[in-house]
Symmetry: C2
Subunit: 337 residues, 2 copies
């Protein structure tokens, strides 16, 4: 087998690559729109926005919007605007999150706030949000606008909830489920739903894609939260234990606290939210997680959401895009193993 064939085989077997190939033509239009709408006569706006936008994100959310539209045969072309709007909403959130989390890194490179400062990150985030709404409004689709504007409010609410729960040892599994639903899954849900709407889906199809997106988003965030403790530094552009040092009450911590003895609890509590926690302290906490198998249990929960995502698509007619969307779910869960 030639090297080229091998590469092609590998690409074909990676569902995200297959999703990219299947959406490539439309995503080219989405990317052009993204570049166009990140422009401004104020130099700092496109500089900062493009630094983040071009930083190697997979653009999974807008791809899902486009894929959902293609799944139903494509509608009036609104999916291009919605896809770009979804990516802008996502990037606005990243800019604000990095300020709130005081993150130094994003996608393996310095966070925008480390170069342009917190102030510019806040304001350019606001600009991207405004541009996102302008692109939505241009479609004239008021139902889809309702979906996306509700997502925008819920996302912010979820971020506030997460902030309020920071370092709170009494945070429950239910609290956590609400946080990840609001801060992550709702945008996946909206991205898929407005895609389906643009593709001309009926009520059942729209509901199926919304459920698919929501469950995929939940699975995605659960995997992320497990990877934060198990992934190799650099691979995800994040350092192991960032969530711990930021005091984020993710499922691995919550599950461990439920079973931990007094001394284990004290160890977790002292590292949680301590930006200066040493690698040794992080390792000790991860050792407690391993004792109670909380990383695997977090991934198992991700697996449950993944199955629900796949089940949501079951009623829809078979086809290549449906297969890709199902495979993307499995792939996004498998990245943690």
């Amino acid at each position: 087998m030639s090297v080229l064939t091998q590469i092609k085989e590998a690409q074909v077997s990676n569902p995200v690559e297959r999703l990219m190939a299947a959406t490539a033509a439309d995503m080219e239009r989405v990317n052009a729109l993204i570049l166009d709408r990140a422009r401004s006569h104020v130099d700092m706006v496109p500089e900062l926005a493009r630094y983040l936008i071009d930083s190697g994100g997979k653009r999974l959310r807008p791809m899902l919007t486009v894929a959902a539209a293609l799944l139903f045969g494509r509608g009036r072309g609104n999916e291009i605007n919605f896809a770009a709007a979804v990516e802008f909403m996502h990037n606005a959130t990243l800019l604000h999150d990095d300020v709130v989390d005081e993150s130094d890194m994003r996608r393996g490179q310095r966070a925008a706030r480390m170069i342009w400062g917190n102030k510019a990150s806040i304001l350019v985030g606001d600009f991207l949000l405004g541009q996102a709404f302008m692109m939505m409004v241009e479609t004239g689709d008021i139902d889809a606008l309702g979906v996306l504007s509700a997502a925008s409010a819920v996302m912010a609410e979820g971020e506030v909830f997460q902030l309020a729960k920071t370092g709170d040892l009494t945070t429950t599994q239910a609290d956590y489920s609400e946080v990840i639903r609001a801060k992550t899954a709702v945008l996946f849900e909206a991205a898929c739903e407005v895609g389906a709407m643009s593709g001309g889906a009926d009520a059942e199809g729209r509901k199926a894609l919304a459920a698919y997106g929501l469950e995929l988003g939940n699975a995605f965030q659960l995997v992320d939260d497990a990877l934060d403790y198990g992934g190799q530094s650099g691979t995800l552009g994040k350092n192991v234990g960032d969530d711990l040092r930021e005091g984020k009450m993710t499922l691995p911590v919550i599950l461990a606290l439920e079973e931990a003895g007094e001394s284990e609890r004290a160890l977790i509590a002292s590292a949680l939210g301590n930006a200066e926690a040493t690698d040794l302290e992080v390792h000790q906490v991860v050792a407690i997680f391993n004792r109670y198998d909380t990383l695997n249990r977090t991934l198992a929960k991700a697996g449950g959401h993944a199955r629900a995502a796949i089940a949501a698509l079951a009623p829809l007619p078979e086809g290549e895009m449906k297969t890709i969307l199902m495979d993307v779910v499995e792939y996004s869960v498998s990245r943690a193993s």
Copy 2:
């Protein structure tokens, strides 16, 4: 004359009080909607939002939306949603501005960020913006949504431009005009325009109200920027010289720099953007302003915009609301004298 009559006379002679009286019934609905949409199951959201919303702002922008609708006879009731949305957009901007400007005070009380922190202020601002868009979407008026979403993007762009020009001694009068148009006047313009649209205005009426709002907003910001150096501390909830210490390139500074000699220039430059500048230094800078009459020249420019605002309404039929809107312009300029 009885005391009560005197109070009534005084109320009647203050155009903002007359505007309040003329819009009272609708503003009651707007205020109820504002309270309703500031609710959240996340306690911190309504706590912070209501602290700011209830802090004694005059709600001038939503009153203008309602007044513009009433001026044209009132439409389908959309002005209630738009008015609340405009107030949420304004308050979201205030929350983010206070973080960006590192302000300790807002409307004469501690800024929200001093109580709940910068992080919560950023995220609750995002929440208010999301809720604003939801309220707009509920109207189903896609044209008005276009006006308000464009305003949202331009406002953020204006804030970035202002940030980029912070402490920049080469800032021109044209730069300044662009900053105040974008960060302040565009929201006044949108507030009035969508009000007129809700009231059933024709194209000419809509254009007249948009122009009125834009010019009033420009006048309003110019007066604010003059008052920052001349108002009495406490009256506006701001300390004299805040803009100077934050490095804001407002017209009084720009005009002074155009004429200042070398030593005056050095004095301004050393105080500009210096958070630790003493009251003496601020006074020395204000003395330079007085030497070149830059506060009065700033107010004269405000007067020009005020006249343009009044002229914009000229083509419209006479009536009580038109008179009030014209008088509000004069009043907003006169508050600096």
